[in-house]
């Protein structure tokens, strides 16, 4: 891994952690728990676009770990649930990404949907109850919307980053 790549990934990680914090401060007027805009996922999509799936794995897992350490929730349920959800969603995303048929919109929405499904499964497991499954359709529908927003913002950023030549292609 070149120094330039390490530097760029470190910057993306730092931005992802900041966005993770910003998101936790924003309270959406939702009645269904678990719905988030997922703005930190913008960085994940950018890393996937510029570097690849392995790097996206690395950034997303490190983001959850560092953010939970900073928030004092490391090794608690608030750490394990997003860790399991992000890990599972990325594993399930691999075959869709490797087909190379989906655009940034499809990939972002598929990941958001898988994240919410994994989140519900992990909450059901940790709380030993199936009561949370009733939220799944509402969370899935919300994931389509939030995944779309994340893809739209990511696309805008990619166009601007490409114009400014901030992140060179073929890293």
């Amino acid at each position: 891994m070149s120094v330039k790549k390490i530097l760029l990934l470190s910057m993306f990680l730092a931005i992802a952690i900041i966005l993770h914090f910003v998101e936790s401060m924003v309270i959406l007027p939702m009645v269904v728990p678990g719905i988030k805009l997922g703005i930190a996922n913008i960085v994940g999509v950018l890393v996937l676009y510029y570097f690849g799936i392995k790097e996206m794995f690395l950034i997303n897992i490190l983001r959850v770990i560092f953010a939970s350490i900073a928030r004092g929730t490391f090794l608690s349920l608030s750490f394990y649930i997003p860790l399991f959800s992000i890990f599972t969603s990325m594993i399930l995303l691999i075959p869709f990404f490797q087909t190379k048929k989906y655009s940034i919109f499809g990939i972002s929405i598929i990941q958001a949907v898988f994240f919410n499904i994994a989140q519900i499964i992990s909450v059901c497991y940790f709380y030993q109850s199936d009561v949370f499954i009733y939220y799944l359709p509402y969370l899935t529908l919300a994931a389509v919307f939030t995944g779309w927003i994340v893809a739209l913002l990511s696309k805008r950023l990619i166009i601007n980053l490409d114009k400014a030549n901030v992140v060179p292609q073929n890293n």
Partner: protein
């Protein structure tokens, strides 16, 4: 990875939306009101209180949960969390629930309220 929306994306999105809306429609069509049911309060995966929802009386229950006191009340057929301590206050914002398919979940307090068929009302027909 392409930046422009394509047919694969559209098919996937439409598929997800159809399945999701179908599931929501199924949940709504199976939405049974609370009368004759029980609202079970779970704290740390254990039942700590049961409200009978077949009586026309208001009942209140308070429990010291993970983040502090949680107050729950019923008005005969519905149940709600009146007050609780959490960051987003989702469960108290949710308001009244009277359906099996709409539990009240308060994860920061490790507490949830689930509406179930009443065990007392399992008999469908009385034969004399």
């Amino acid at each position: 990875m392409k930046l422009k929306l394509n047919n694969y994306d559209i098919i996937t999105i439409v598929g997800i939306v159809i399945i999701t809306l179908g599931s929501i429609g199924y949940l709504i069509s199976n939405n049974q009101s609370g009368r004759g049911h029980q609202a079970k309060v779970y704290y740390q995966n254990k039942i700590v209180h049961v409200f009978e929802l077949n009586e026309n009386k208001r009942e209140k229950y308070r429990i010291k949960a993970t983040n502090g006191w949680v107050a729950i009340e019923t008005d005969g057929s519905r149940v709600r969390v009146v007050s609780e301590t959490s960051k987003n206050n989702y469960c108290s914002k949710q308001g009244w629930s009277d359906s099996i398919t709409t539990p009240i979940v308060c994860l920061p307090n490790e507490l949830y309220v689930k509406i179930d068929q009443s065990e007392k009302n399992d008999v469908d027909v009385h034969i004399k």
